[in-house]
């Protein structure tokens, strides 16, 4: 086995032992707030179906907002980054709207949209939109002039310029924005669920915290951690595939 793998397993086992020591063998921590690992792990099995349902419910909101952001932010970012006049006109507006924390739109989302689901998707969308949009615009503007000239000498159409030149040229920065968007979307998702949902991972943690059921709170946090890890691995794979032309040789 590779050294790095061995090290990681050792760290994992060490942390588990530390947890067991502090909660079970020498219970220095308040047992009500800090449950022992065996208790938590057995709950992961016991509440399995609830967790699956929660994950599904959370993903619906997360992807609803995130995919909507991707679909709108990238094409708009390409056009705004490419069209100098449009960019100059919109720049002040982008500078004002971009940094506004998306949670401040919650009152309007609740007032204007028909359901909790719609409101949550809207807030997640706003949070995910700006980092993606701003990075797409910046990515287009940093594509080497020589590459754009090369494309122009081939007589490419405007459409082809956007799709085949500017999109891949801006892709490294789009992924940078996409990471920020994903993190922000997940934070907003969990917050939204803790405030108003009746299902989902955030709801699970908040619901059982209200009953002081801390073993379930910890189990919920662990599941959230694993879900985020899974998303990150998938995202990094996608990035490595789409940017496979980079940093070679």
């Amino acid at each position: 086995m590779k050294q790095s793998v061995v090290d990681r397993i050792l760290l994992f086992v060490g942390l588990l032992l530390l947890w067991q020591t502090l909660t079970g063998w020498f219970p220095l921590l308040d047992p009500l707030l800090f449950p022992a690992p065996n208790k938590v792990l057995s709950l992961l099995v016991e509440d399995k179906s609830v967790f699956w349902k929660s994950i599904l419910s959370s993903f619906r909101l997360l992807f609803g907002g995130y995919v909507l952001a991707v679909i709108l932010a990238i094409p708009l970012g390409l056009v705004v980054g490419w069209n100098k006049r449009l960019h100059t006109t919109l720049e002040p507006l982008i500078n004002i709207l971009g940094p506004i924390p998306p949670i401040v739109y919650i009152p309007y989302a609740i007032a204007l949209l028909p359901s909790f689901t719609h409101s949550s998707i809207f807030i997640i969308f706003i949070g995910a939109f700006w980092p993606l949009f701003i990075n797409t615009v910046a990515g287009v503007r940093t594509v080497e002039k020589g590459i754009i000239d090369s494309a122009r000498t081939l007589g490419v159409s405007q459409w082809s310029m956007l799709i085949h030149i500017l999109l891949p040229g801006a892709m490294p920065q789009i992924f940078t924005g996409g990471t920020v968007s994903l993190v922000l979307a997940f934070i907003l998702l969990t917050a939204a669920e803790m405030i108003g949902a009746t299902s989902g991972l955030g709801w699970y943690v908040k619901y059982f915290a209200d009953f002081a059921d801390y073993p379930r709170v910890v189990a919920g946090i662990l599941v959230i951690g694993v879900v985020v890890l899974g998303l990150t691995i998938f995202y990094n794979r996608l990035e490595r595939h789409l940017l496979r032309w980079r940093k070679m040789g």
């Binding site: 080497e144 020589g146 590459i147 000239d149 090369s150 494309a151 122009r152 000498t153 081939l154 007589g155 490419v156 082809s160 085949h164 030149i165 891949p168 040229g169 892709m171 496979r244 032309w245 980079r246 940093k247 070679m248 040789g249």
Partner: protein, 268 residues
């Protein structure tokens, strides 16, 4: 004597917007290029050589004057002019084959076999699935040249295409260029910018010497050597040495004048 110029620059001046003091990059450029001619351009850097390529490519418009191709003004980039840059000709996210295929698609002449054929011609059939980032500088330029010739354009504009390539590969690429230039049916017109005097003498029919700030044509020199040219006898030829010296002194006097302006001439 040329009555109907194939490609002609008439009183062309170029001032980039926002340029300091509004000093022109090019001033009063007049040049008539015949069809099938191989023109090499030499001169100090910043002397407007690359700007001339941009003008001919249609990437920028002249501030004053006209550029005519078969009597018609050039209004923008076109597939009748293939361009090879020193760098950035290829798209880094496309493989060598995809780069050529993408260019072919713009002419509407789509077939992967044809793209592959041109890679084979430059000896890079094996590297078809490699990305530019995986290729050496010399290999990248071979792909760029293959792409240019795959387009089948009658005019080739090359901006120091071998500037970043090592000596051995440069010789290989020069011979490749000459081969492609002569081989493919009708002789192509080539406009090559270089900083290598020997390259200009080996390749060109005429050498245009540029001068700097503002960029103007200092002299046009006819290269009298018969083709096919052979390197070894050529560089020993008395008239070659004479021409080479003439070009060198033209370029050096330019550099010395520049230095005198900057340094006050101390030590020259």
């Amino acid at each position: 004597m040329i009555i109907l110029g194939f490609l002609s620059l008439k009183d062309v001046s170029l001032v980039y917007p926002g340029q300091k003091n509004g000093e022109p990059s090019l001033q009063n450029i007049n040049l008539e290029i015949e069809e099938g001619e191989f023109i090499a351009v030499v001169g100090p850097s910043g002397g407007g050589k690359s700007s001339t390529i941009s003008l001919l490519a249609g990437l920028v418009e002249p501030t004053t004057g006209q550029i005519l191709l078969k009597g018609k003004p050039i209004t923008g980039p076109g597939l009748d002019r293939a361009v090879v840059f020193q760098d950035y000709s290829l798209f880094p996210w496309m493989t060598a084959l995809e780069n050529i295929y993408f260019a072919l698609k713009q002419v509407g002449n789509v077939s992967r076999e044809k793209a592959k054929k041109f890679l084979d011609i430059v000896g890079l059939g094996e590297a078809a699935t490699k990305y530019p980032g995986e290729l050496s500088g010399g290999m990248r330029q071979r792909v760029a040249i293959a792409r240019a010739f795959a387009l089948g354009a009658p005019i080739y504009l090359m901006d120091e295409p071998f500037g970043a390539v090592d000596a051995k590969n440069r010789i290989y690429l020069q011979d490749l260029l000459i081969r492609l230039w002569q081989e493919t049916g009708v002789k192509k017109t080539v406009f090559l910018v270089t900083h290598d005097i020997d390259e200009a003498l080996y390749l060109a029919d005429r050498i245009v010497v540029f001068t700097t700030s503002p960029g103007r044509i200092r002299k046009v020199i006819q290269v009298p050597f018969k083709r096919p040219r052979n390197r070894i006898p050529l560089i020993q030829d008395q008239s070659y040495i004479q021409l080479r010296n003439e070009l060198l002194s033209l370029l050096q006097s330019e550099i010395i004048e520049e230095l005198q302006k900057v340094e006050g001439g101390a030590g020259i």
